[in-house]
Symmetry: C2
Subunit: 215 residues, 2 copies
């Protein structure tokens, strides 16, 4: 397909598609004349992923490039590519200065992951961005006077463990090659975040109505 | 306590505390001399909430003021205050232009909430920001070629429904007056979001290792 069709089918403006091509977020098409190139389904899929990362995930062009580099790294297996790509996603503000709350939070996070037996390796695990994000979040709760213990965290972690099984079932249900599934897994990681946060607020409103609402 | 102690106990710099006082995010202390005022536990609690909203939730000063106004509105009951405060939190970018994906997403969200029997009233519900956030998120999935049906969404919604029960149990466990509980509920809504997103990414990494990892 031509650039105009790629734009139409993806819903991304041609100027934006050209920008992504220039930035290397989209591989060049197959040149057919001096001014025209031909694109295929892989371009369309990649364009959709870039769109998900940048527009929904708020990922910068530089981070998107890192995510895509991980997806295209043939030296990694499917699990490593997914892991590396998710690690390249932004993870909120970096951890605050070291204080007693950070120390407590680090201990809690480590105890939690040990309890869950999530194959967490303290030697390398501390470098996983999602782990740093968890520690920072627990420290913030601690500092603000809402201590969150391992027992408080456990039901959330177990629940999200079950949802992760569901997430990857969904990815396998979409079908496609191993490459396509890794791409879909990264896209769904990002795209389901606002779905989860929105459903949580709606669920809380419902539960608040049940508990505290006028009878 | 004096401003210096309020700053020490909250971990918020005195210049920042003074800024919050000027912006009306913190009620004035009880004046004891021309230059000094006395603050109490309510100030400390309020200061912690403001900190949670602004630093962790990324809430603007103007939105924080709206959230606090809802919490202080005596004409509302506990459920209404919580609902109004959560509605005043930011909910991501507003919905995109109307297109077929938005239409589909609106229908799906409505069917989902009907199925869950979450007391959703289509007449007023469409104005709840979390509902708009859900519709926008479903539309983004749809547009990017990852259709998410009511059946796909249902397990996520049911799971978050159970977590919401847990959220409010946690709030009741912290104890305190009805006012303090509504404050805690708003703080935990914001503070647990990064906890959930971080745990989800860790859970996905674990599940990916199980399915696709080198044996």
């Amino acid at each position: 397909m031509r650039l105009s069709e790629l734009s139409r089918r993806s819903g991304v403006a041609t100027a934006t598609v050209k920008f992504y091509l220039r930035e290397g977020l989209l591989p060049p098409g197959r040149r057919i004349t001096a001014t025209q190139a031909e694109y295929d389904e892989r371009h369309l899929r990649r364009l959709r992923l870039v769109r998900a990362l940048i527009q929904v995930g708020g990922v910068s062009v530089a981070s998107a490039r890192e995510v895509l580099a991980a997806l295209d790294d043939d030296s990694l297996d499917q699990n490593e590519r997914l892991g590396t790509a998710v690690c390249a996603l932004p993870h909120g503000k970096p951890a605050d200065a070291d204080d007693p709350a950070m120390e407590t939070a680090r201990r809690r996070a480590e105890q939690l992951l040990e309890l869950l037996d999530w194959g967490y390796d303290p030697a390398t695990g501390a470098t996983i961005p999602a782990y740093g994000m968890l520690v920072t979040a627990i420290a913030a709760l601690e500092r603000l006077g809402y201590p969150c213990t391992v027992a408080d965290l456990e039901p959330y972690a177990r629940t999200l463990g079950r949802l992760a099984v569901n997430d990857l079932d969904l990815v396998e249900r979409y079908g496609g090659t191993a490459d396509e599934q890794v791409e879909a897994a990264v896209a769904l990681t990002v795209l389901y975040e606002p779905v989860l946060l929105a459903l949580r607020r709606l669920a809380e409103a419902e539960e608040s109505r049940r508990r505290f609402g006028r009878k």
